[in-house]
Subunit: 200 residues, 2 copies
Amino acid sequence: MKKELTEKQEKVLEFIRKFHTNNAMMPTVREIAKNFKLSIGSVQQHLRALLSKGFLVKRGSLSRGIDFPNRKTFSQVPVLGTVHAGTFLEQIEDASDYIYINTDITRNKQCFALKVKGDSMEPSGIVEGDTIVVSKGEQPSNGDIVVALVDNESAVKMFFKEKGKIFLKSTNPKYPTLSSDDYDIDVVGKLIYLVRQYKG
Amino acid sequence: MKKELTEKQEKVLEFIRKFHTNNAMMPTVREIAKNFKLSIGSVQQHLRALLSKGFLVKRGSLSRGIDFPNRKTFSQVPVLGTVHAGTFLEQIEDASDYIYINTDITRNKQCFALKVKGDSMEPSGIVEGDTIVVSKGEQPSNGDIVVALVDNESAVKMFFKEKGKIFLKSTNPKYPTLSSDDYDIDVVGKLIYLVRQYKG
DNA sequence: TATTATAATATACATTTGTATTTTAGTCAA
DNA sequence: TTGACTAAAATACAAATGTATATTATAATA
């Protein structure tokens, strides 16, 4: 349980958050002072309070050397194309867009993102327009959702392996389950993340 | 088309990218120099090249004052609690977690995030465990998905307004549509974003 | 009452940081 | 050869920045 902040401390912290959001770096003591028309010493005291109460941490005596506790870091993941609408591997070179996701999700995996078309996975919460993040070359377990090339067409399916055979199941029952007996199946990667933007 | 970088310039830029990812701020000239065991002057020249070739831009003569062109910025959105599992507004004070999303999505709206419980919105792609981002106090249109307090219980529903009455519909047909005739309905905000993490 | 926490100011100082200058060297092309 | 670009080093200086100290004032509290 965090200690409570005073009104002014709350405002200072809020300013730091916003500054960090807009500038991707922390403000200096004097930048904070200027914003609130305060003296340097006053800001120092507010920062000291925020530090001792655990709302900020320090990184040595560097410039702009305050930080949020447990601040998350990001990986740039390229959006390579659209899945279940044809091939996408050609487009690897010119990733026109990137999405940013926490490094604790991507870890050290090699990832890329795809836009989803179609309704074959709707019952498991994947709908048209979603952006999915795929971790490349990971061994999927039964029940994992994967991106696969099925006779060179890309698809998002649920993965099953039984007696050496691979099955790709759509959770939408109107699509058939594909078997490695009938198709050339190449699992590209495993779903690790999904984002969806609602138009405002 | 960007001008080409030399091998060394590429490496310096790559270091700056990584440094920024890990520390949420740009490195100083001397931090770069230390990493490559170079002199300050050498780093200055590399930076000058990266600037003139358009891979970096400057923000005045500030400390750590280099930036990526078109860098995306993030908002910290507090995760306040769980929705459709009771009230969550009490927990506003101690947001234990944050998610970070692009400011071009949050714009200047006041936002917060909630974890989803239950299956009442499964057919529209919202499943248990998802984290939804809600924009506070925005006027919803018919068909928008909203977070509302229904007799002080929180819920995620599809919003409709007709002849002054509010209707909250679950896309899952096994739940009834709620009407403002029968319940005290308070729309808290509108869904603008959703993220889902698949366990690896 | 004395104490503590908050809030604010003013000032000084040491360190960090950006910037400018000069010099040396190698490579490549006109 | 000359010129241009890249690479690197060494040094100096000004500006930015973090930090320490002293002082005043107010409100809440034991």
